[in-house]
Every structure is written in structure tokens, then in C-alpha cells.
């Protein structure tokens, strides 16, 4: 039951990613070429509404499904890693035209080639795990 809820949110996410066209390689190219407002509009609205949601949750000490007051974890302040890791992800984002969420959704669309992108991403994750102590954070 607990996991079924996450399955449903995932299904909703897959539909939203498709209908927002954020899974389109062409939309991502348009974004990185500053030739359309579409992706900036989506991310901008999501963030502005998200800021309002998180602000209201904190202001009214709203509770989650378990009845616990919702707390937001601070992201670790690893600025070197944030910047360099972010840069490397950005290269891959432009190449494949997809970030991790859309990769999975594209598999649902029957684009089997994306499974190879996901396998490569798993290998990249593994290599990061192996090199972690040698990288600046």
C-alpha cells in the first residue's frame, strides 16, 4: 500500500514529463540555444510554486502522511562538487537531451536505445563511487 502510492505519483510524473514535452531532446536543445521560453517557463513556474509550497509548509508546520511535522534536509555544502559535478551532468544532459527522470519515461515510450544511456549512467555512478575519495568535494 505504502509503495503503491509512490507508483501512482510515478505514473503521474511520467505523464507530466511527456505532456510538458520536457522529455524531448529537441526541447532541451532549444533551451540551451535560448531559442524558446518553454523549458525556462516550466522550470521557473515549478520553482516559484515550489518555493511558495515549501514556505507555507514551514510557516504552518504542516504534517506529512505519518502525522510528523515536515522537515527539509539541508543539502550538503560541497560547492566544488556541486559545480564540477553539475558541469559534468550538464554536458551529458545536452548530449542525451534528457535528465534522469525523462530517461525512464522515454523507456516507457518504447525508445529502447535509452536503456543503453541508463546502463551507461549506472556505470558512471559506479565509477564515481570508486573514485569518490580522490575527488574534491
Amino acid at each position: 500500500m505504502r509503495l503503491l502510492r509512490f507508483l501512482l505519483v510515478g505514473v503521474f510524473f511520467g505523464i507530466v514529463m511527456t505532456k510538458s514535452e520536457a522529455i524531448s531532446w529537441f526541447r532541451i536543445q532549444e533551451m540551451f540555444r535560448f531559442q524558446s521560453f518553454h523549458m525556462y517557463g516550466i522550470i521557473g513556474v515549478a520553482v516559484v510554486v515550489g518555493v511558495a509550497m515549501q514556505y507555507l509548509i514551514k510557516m504552518f508546520n504542516l504534517k506529512n502522511i505519518f502525522g510528523d511535522v515536515i522537515q527539509f534536509q539541508e543539502k550538503p555544502k560541497i560547492y566544488t562538487a556541486n559545480l564540477f559535478g553539475g558541469f559534468i551532468f550538464g554536458l551529458g544532459w545536452a548530449m542525451t537531451g534528457a535528465c534522469p527522470g525523462p530517461l525512464y519515461v522515454l523507456v516507457g515510450h518504447g525508445h529502447w536505445i535509452v536503456l543503453i544511456i541508463i546502463l551507461s549512467a549506472l556505470f558512471g555512478t559506479l565509477v564515481y563511487g570508486a573514485l569518490k575519495s580522490k575527488l574534491p568535494h
Binding site: C99, V105, H111, G129
Partner: protein, 193 residues
């Protein structure tokens, strides 16, 4: 209803819907961040035996793996029932720029996919250097970069920026520098291969 959902969505509608996904996950006691699924899958695959980074309980992320399965199912449902056959309105400037690189944007849905340039993203092209760079290296950089940077678009750009976290802003700036360097400086070279 189906007809209503099937029409193209305005970007503002899409933005609100994405924030609702985040809100749902927060309400269910979790947070939004898809790239952590890669780590959990590596852990399930036994990577923890070799590398300490993966030596943890993946069950803490079981919800995320189920979410990921859901998003694949969502893709199946959307592609079967909710996609209209009209082309996505990609800007003419982008279509022209891409055509200069040798990538065509399909005029009809029979001609190709509006989501992925299938003349590059197909199994045949994996035999070429260009295909290996875009698909295999591209995927590798996504996995490596998201773990090093501590998240992807969902975890940093949506969840992190929404809670006004400075590390997320730094990461998002990194994403964009990477994307711009790839698109404007490296694509002309890669596509000439």
C-alpha cells in the same frame, strides 16, 4: 477528459504539475530526486562489496525505485493514449541550427519522433564514434556528474531551489555551463565525426 489532457500543455500548467509531484513526495515523507535511483540500483547489484559508497541499505530508496517504475508506466500510458499527433512546436531557429548539424526534425509523427532524433539515437549508430560519444559517454557523464554534484534537475533545480538551498543554485549553474559548453562548443565537433 482524455481529449482535454491530450492537447499540448501550456508551460505554466506543466510547471504547476511538476511542483505537485514534488508536493506529493514531500507529503508521503520523501523528497524529489530521481538520480539517487542510479545509486540504489548499483547497491542492489552488489557494488557495496567493492566500494564503501554503495555499502548501505537500498531499501531506504525502495520508494524511489517504485516511483521510477511508475514513471516508465506513465510513459507507456502517455505514449499510448495521451500524445496528439501534431508536432511539438519547436522554434524554427532551433530546427535550422540542428539541420546545419545534420539532424532533421520530423514533419510528421510517421517520419520520426518528436522526443528523440531517431537518426542519431538508434542501435545502428552505436557502431560509429559519434553514436558512442553521444549515447554511451553522454549516459556515463549523467551518472558520474549527478552523484558528484549531489543531484539532478529534480533534486537540485526543483526540490533544492524551492527550499532556497545555495548548493543547489551552484549545481544548477554548473548544469547550465555544462549544457552550453556542450551545445555551442562541442556539438559542432562531435557532429562532424
Amino acid at each position: 477528459m482524455i481529449e482535454f489532457i491530450s492537447q499540448p500543455w501550456h508551460w505554466s500548467v506543466s510547471g504547476v504539475m511538476i511542483s505537485l509531484v514534488m508536493l506529493s513526495l514531500i507529503y508521503l515523507g520523501q523528497r524529489f530526486g530521481v538520480s539517487s535511483s542510479f545509486k540504489a540500483i548499483c547497491t542492489i547489484g552488489g557494488a557495496g562489496i567493492q566500494f564503501e559508497y554503495f555499502d548501505n541499505d537500498w531499501r531506504k530508496h525502495d520508494w524511489l525505485l517504485i516511483f521510477v517504475v511508475g514513471s516508465i508506466i506513465g510513459g507507456v500510458i502517455a505514449s499510448t493514449f495521451l500524445v496528439n499527433s501534431e508536432p511539438i512546436q519547436i522554434s524554427t531557429a532551433t530546427i535550422n541550427d540542428l539541420s546545419a548539424l545534420g539532424i532533421s526534425y520530423p514533419k510528421t509523427s510517421e517520419e520520426g519522433s518528436y522526443f528523440l532524433p531517431t537518426d542519431i539515437f538508434n542501435l545502428e549508430v552505436l557502431k560509429s564514434l559519434k553514436g558512442i560519444i553521444l549515447i554511451v559517454l553522454g549516459g556515463f557523464l549523467i551518472g558520474f556528474g549527478t552523484r558528484w554534484g549531489g543531484g539532478c534537475t529534480s533534486g537540485h533545480a526543483i526540490m533544492g531551489l524551492s527550499s532556497l538551498q545555495f548548493p543547489s543554485l551552484v549545481a544548477v549553474i554548473g548544469f547550465f555551463i555544462g549544457g552550453l559548453v556542450m551545445t555551442h562548443l562541442l556539438f559542432p565537433f562531435i557532429f562532424s565525426l
